[in-house]
Amino acid sequence: MKLFAKYNRINLTAMAVLFVLSAFTYYSIINWVLIHELDESLDQYRIKIAEFVSKKHELPTIESVDDLQVQYKAVTVPTNKNYELVVLYNTSEQKNEKFRRLLYSQQVGGQYYEVSIAKPLEGVHLMAKLIAGTTLILFLVTIVISLLVNHLLLRRLWTPFFRIIDSIRKYKLDSREPVYPDTDIDEFIMMRNALKEMIANTERDYRTLKEFTENASHELQTPLAIIRSKLDLVIQEEGLSEKQVSALQSAYANIKRLTTMNQSLLLLAKIENRQYSTNESIDVAKKVNEKLDDFKEFWQDKNIKLTANLDDSSIVANSDMIDLLLANLLSNAGRHTPAGGTIDIGSGPGELQIRNTAQDKALDKLRLFTRFYKEKTSNTYNGLGLSIVKHICDQAGITIEYNFERNEHIFSLRW
């Protein structure tokens, strides 16, 4: 839920409760005040009657003034003075209505009369309703205005917040620092500073980690060079036994594996560090052809059939990177094509596609480009090739897509 919506919801509920309470209180107070006024006017009338009686020694003739209804009734026992609410027939309105009535006794010459003075409550109710209605309208106006104000003002006030969020969303690790909007709101300044600090820390850690990867890989090169050189010397010896040869073969193969893996990791670190940034226009079809010259021989050996439909295609990118990209994609295709399979390569303006017969099932689309992804663990392949491919594509602005159709792995590149 949006903060606005949440705020409005709470705000409106509170206001509604307040409104009901205040309307009720208003109504009660006004009702009480008006009835009190009414009682006073009834009492005034009683005093007038008493004055009349003391002067003339008789009750005044009944005359209906306004809605006032006066009645006399001879009684033997005097009644106590009392105000009450009753329903009476209103002769002028010709219907039953609520009245406020004053009942009391008046002595005229030794005879007691019960006097009833009543006034209709209609006016009081009307007034009370009017006040309640006015309150309601005022409340509605307040709500509408507050919603509008909230909408306009809050949106304006929150602008820096959304701009900060926006710049953070666009931010990528190891790229340009996000541009924060200017703001004089303390909370937003606090958030901006916290983010700045967090990003600075993350960047520093990330850089340290990358430097570590690169340094570690470099440091490994020398011992590898020593081991390989020692093996190169050992094989110069004459009369090596079959066991020794097989041990040497294995040692060589694994030095090779370690070297390749190390170089791949270094390469990834370098691509991430953007050490290959010089761009030039490259004839992709020509480059593929050059690479194919080298690969053909390997593929013929495995009895792989190659079809290449290379139409003109060019890209502006780093030449070394494109070399690596093609080498990785092609060696990958060769590696995963079973003997007797086919490899199809097609290029056109802004695209390149490599298909090869699959050995078994489709690759896992989600994990395909992650480091050390392998379909089989026994493989001597290090599982970094496609990760390198993906990194290069990302840097060169190429989109790469993997599909599996009719038992074929398909890598499609577009730029």
Partner: protein, 226 residues
Amino acid sequence: MKLLVIEDERALSESICAYLNGEQFTCEVAYDYLSASEKVHMNEYACIILDITLPGGNGLQILRKLKEQRKDEGVLIISARNSLDDKLTGLTIGADDYLTKPFHLAELAARVNAIIRRKSFEGNNQIVIDHLTLDLINRTLKSEDQAIFLTRKEYDLLLYFISNKNRVVTKEAIVEHLWGDDIDSADSYDFIYTHIKNLRKKLMQAGCPDYIQAIYGIGYKFSINH
């Protein structure tokens, strides 16, 4: 011919010397910047094998001094840092070649030989070895005046063998030399057998002795018997 190996890792420089020392070369070693500078200043070498990171200084500095003194030694940089920048800086200052660790000793020998051949090109663009004469400019081969036609790969292969004569060379090193690093897809290196078989056949048809000897499970050896 004298070579100087400037490399602080003693184990590695020992290997290099053990491999290169022979009828053609004698190796001297230097393990740090100071002794290396001294040796370079005092003596003349056919080729200097130079590591960049050295105790006491940077190998590139030695290269700079060498060029300032207008010395004509060939320089092969060997470095663990295969960054493009280092390579470019090295080659710009005047190194002849650049090899990244870990390398095959056979590859090192091939590069050193290539540098020395290039340096002594004046009036000598031929390699004569036993019955064979290689023309380095036209990339052709003759055996006692009889031309032998080689493919590009066969010629490179022969040159590689000659640079490593009387040494066992692994199939892996041959593949890397001829096809480069990209080709790591091959699970076995047996396909080079075709090239070797063809080269061998061509040489023998021209009446040469069987120079190329297969070493079981490892690779090949190009031997000249006197």
